[in-house]
């Protein structure tokens, strides 16, 4: 059994799996249930001034037989009184002292009011703060959430206010609704933040009802942009985590968020620099029980690789994520089709023919009259991977290295040579 315990900027939890600040972490009842199920930590639903929510708040993006590969929401921060939330935080902490409870905070851009909020909340015994500079809807129109997170100066200013009075680690949660997330990450670093978390949700309109022509979701026939999350955003989140992890001016512990549903997703985020991972949509879809396989699968993965600690994964792939102009131009792969595994759906053929480089041939087969087999024209295959992506059979199309192994040449080197 590997040690799954992690340390993210001094915030410790028995495993890397935290509930993200979201509906599943809205109340003590829910957080107690989550801890009972095995979750290592919870970032409490954002505390701040009371708000009023609308009815009809979420919508899902479905793909074929899959429900909710993406989800958006127009719900705001907690709609429960601060004293109730704080009492429940104390109860959870008392019942599960080994778990991490992080309080998510949002407040108007006023130093005194931020100080007041931080001091009030930290009295409850939270293990850390997460500053919600990411919520893209509702609060941002009032100068909070993403309105702060999209401006590095505001991020820096507000983070400083919190760090001034906080006695526990401060995580700055970043919005992806920005051109270069490293700019706000650096601002958090300059302000003295202890960690960053990302991504908050992405601006989105999930759909339009083609019968009523109303936006989805609609509130009395009107819609507003929401925050997009779920499995479909994982690649965006992972890229932003990796970009911050490899930025010399950031160099902060990261809590990764965005489409994480399985232990495999968690391993990927950890390899790219996350020391904890936060989950919301998967719990909203399946309930707290999903953490059982996340823990079990991560344990087996670490054991199988002979790793003693989950922390041994953190950042191990960051050095492999580089700029395009550092990629080896001499590297070459081609597709190989395993004729024994091929089921002859011809998906690879038409993908290559219509959308790639026309280098899969249909040749007369010995399997029977009128049958064809698929063979890659390796001389023309550019190694784009598309055929292996559309193939429905596992390990039927593999990409095989064919270059001669000669010295690496990169675009950067070519430019230097040209000069």
């Amino acid at each position: 059994m590997a040690n799954l315990a992690i340390d993210c900027a001094g915030i410790r939890s028995p495993n890397p799996f935290w509930l993200a600040s979201a509906p599943p972490a809205n109340s003590g009842y829910q957080v107690m249930r989550a801890f009972k199920a095995g979750w290592g930590g919870a970032v409490w639903k954002t505390l701040g001034d009371p708000i009023v929510n609308v009815s009809s708040r979420f919508a899902g993006l479905n793909y074929k037989n899959l429900k909710m590969i993406g989800m958006n929401n127009i719900e705001l921060i907690t709609d429960r009184p601060l004293d109730v939330n704080l009492r429940e935080i104390e109860e959870c902490k008392a019942a599960y002292p080994d778990r991490a409870i992080v309080a998510s905070l949002m407040m108007e851009m006023n130093r005194d009011r931020w100080h007041e909020l931080v001091e009030t909340v930290q009295a409850s015994g939270v293990d850390g703060f997460e500053l919600n500079f990411g919520c893209p809807h509702g609060m941002s129109e009032r100068g909070m959430g993403a309105a702060v997170g999209q401006d590095p100066e505001l991020v820096e200013m507000c983070t400083k206010w919190v760090v001034e009075v906080s006695k526990v680690p401060v995580i700055v949660k970043l919005t992806p609704n920005i051109t270069d997330i490293r700019q706000t990450a650096r601002a958090a670093k300059r302000a003295g933040a202890h960690a960053i978390s990302m991504i908050n949700t992405i601006n989105s309109l999930i759909g339009v009802d083609i019968d009523s022509w109303d936006p989805i979701p609609n509130v009395d026939h009107l819609g507003a942009h929401g925050g997009y999350c779920g499995p479909a955003v994982k690649p965006i989140a992972l890229n932003m985590v990796a970009d911050c992890a490899r930025d010399p001016q950031v160099q902060l512990p990261i809590s990764g968020i965005g489409g994480i549903e399985t232990w495999r997703d968690a391993v990927e985020f950890m390899l790219m620099g996350s020391s904890s991972v936060q989950v919301c949509t998967a719990v909203m879809h399946h309930g707290f029980k999903i953490v059982e396989d996340m823990i079990d699968g991560l344990n087996t993965y670490l054991d199988d690789r002979g790793l003693d600690s989950a922390m041994d994964l953190v950042g191990k792939s960051v050095g492999k994520f580089v700029n395009w102009n550092d990629l080896n131009l001499n590297y070459a792969v081609v597709a190989r089709i395993d004729q024994d595994k091929c089921i002859h759906c011809n998906k690879c053929y038409i993908a290559c023919e219509d959308a790639a480089h026309q280098c899969i041939d249909r040749i007369v087969s010995t399997r029977g009259e009128g049958e064809t087999d698929l063979v890659v024209d390796e001389g023309h295959c550019v190694g784009c991977n598309l055929c292996s992506m559309v193939c429905p059979v596992e390990d039927c199309i593999t990409m095989v290295r064919v270059d001669d192994g000669s010295a690496t040449t990169t675009w950067r080197q070519r430019e230097l040579t040209a000069k």
Partner: protein, 442 residues
């Protein structure tokens, strides 16, 4: 002429029981539709005699374009609703599905049934007659091949008249397939779709008996022979004229339309094809307690589809192989069937002397194939070989005004006599006639 139309209450839920195919839910169907890989140059299309663009109609179900889905099916196959129920899909589309070996093949038949059921229930019309060409075609027989040919010719603008000896169109689909496999209203709906294109269907008319062939040759620019086949031939053994000996197709037709056929408790079915299976299961549903199929060859030689055989077994039908009926006994009515063991000599089953046994039975059903309607070929001046019309690549007979389709072409093992094959033959002959009318063929 002018037999009464069928009583509508016998169309679906007959005394023979409700349809076997279970109702399909939208949830079930969409999950299945989304499972389809949407292959390129899909093998299921190649396996379909009518070349339905199966991945296309399945994807249209998934996107909620039900009209487009039904159109894709019915455009390629005018009998698409019937075929969804009677095609041996394991041997055709589903057998060719790329999932066949590593996973469960897509339930194409079920999806086709769902789409065509949607169309029937919607009451929508898919096709329109073409601009009038001034040409006329007579079709002898309103079964699958005749209806298919009529539909295509009407869409091309030709004036089509079908002559059907029964009270309703549909042929085998209406009269010869058990209703729990193919509800009669499905067969009749398909005929209605053809009539809606302006095709005239003259029912209760037997060409040769009621109207001479010469009249058709004189009144129409082209004639298509699609009359199918005749009754089940006699066994050629003593006692087969006794009451209690039935022609399988006659038995199925009478039972299908409500007659309480007095089949008795013990029934012997002679034969092992799909009609024999239907006669066996119908006998059971008419109240027979012991239904046994007697076949002169072994199980591996049965022409019935494996799924039909399995169904018959599930209905309690027993199978006895290598047995040949030698006589039927009875005093005023069947009381016993005498069978002998067979041995296969040079491919031919022969009774082994001294092996006879007497089986007490109440009824004997002949299901040993159907006779060809050779006399009609002669009336139209059409050359044929043992009841199979001699045709060219355009399905044109030796009389250049006359074409042939469906069972008139099938036999001798060259083409399987499936409903779906008849549908394609109808399309082929219509295309050929149309080409001739347009002067594209000689």
């Amino acid at each position: 002429m002018g037999q009464p139309a069928l009583p509508r209450e016998h169309l679906e839920h007959t005394q023979l029981g409700p349809p076997l195919a279970k109702d399909l839910t939208r949830l079930d169907v969409v999950i299945e539709a989304n499972r389809c890989l949407d292959c390129y140059d899909a093998p299921c299309i190649r396996a379909c005699p009518t070349s339905i663009d199966i991945p296309s109609f399945i994807k249209k179900i998934a996107t909620g374009n039900m009209l487009g889905s039904a159109r894709t099916i019915m455009d390629a196959n005018p009998l698409g609703a019937s075929c969804a129920r009677v095609c041996p899909t394991e041997e055709l589309c589903e057998g060719a599905c790329v999932y066949h070996h590593d996973a469960e093949p897509i339930r194409i038949g079920d999806l086709q049934r769902y789409a065509t059921d949607w169309l029937r229930e919607s009451g929508r019309t898919l096709f329109a007659p073409g601009p009038p060409s001034g040409k006329s075609v007579a079709i002898v027989g309103g079964g699958p091949a005749g209806l298919s040919a009529a539909r295509e010719l009407a869409r091309a603008g030709h004036a089509v008249t079908i002559f059907e000896r029964h009270a309703e169109a549909g042929g085998l689909n209406t009269y010869g397939i058990v209703p729990f496999r193919l509800p009669t209203d499905v067969a009749l709906w398909e005929a209605e779709q053809v009539k809606a294109l302006g095709v005239t269907v003259k029912t209760g008319v037997e060409i040769g008996a009621d109207v001479p062939a010469t009249t058709l040759l004189a009144d129409y620019d082209a004639v298509i022979l699609a009359m199918g086949m005749g009754s089940v031939p006699k066994l050629g053994i003593p006692g087969e004229d006794l009451p209690g000996v039935y022609d399988a197709l006659d038995l199925i037709e009478r039972a299908k339309f409500g007659e309480r056929v007095p089949i008795g408790a013990r029934v012997a079915i002679i034969g092992a094809g799909n009609t024999a299976i239907d006669a066996a299961t119908v006998s059971g549903r008419l109240g027979a307690e012991e239904v046994t199929m007697w076949y002169r060859r072994g199980a591996e030689s049965m022409t019935a589809y494996p799924f039909e055989v399995e169904f018959a077994k599930s209905e309690g039908v027993a199978f006895r192989f290598y047995r040949l009926p030698v006589r039927i006994e009875g005093d005023g009515r069947v009381s016993a069937l005498v069978v002998a063991r067979t041995e296969i000599i040079d491919g031919v089953p022969r009774a082994i002397p001294g092996t006879e046994e007497t089986i007490p039975v109440d009824s004997v059903v002949r299901a040993i194939g159907q006779s060809k309607l050779a006399a009609l070929y002669d009336a139209f001046g059409v050359a044929h070989q043992r009841g199979i019309a001699t045709v060219d690549a355009g399905l044109r007979t030796s009389n250049p005004q006359v074409y042939a389709a469906g069972d008139c072409l099938f036999g001798g093992g060259a083409i399987d006599a499936m409903v779906v094959s008849a549908a394609q033959a109808g399309k082929d002959v219509a295309a050929s006639v149309d080409r001739t009318f347009r002067g594209l063929d000689s």
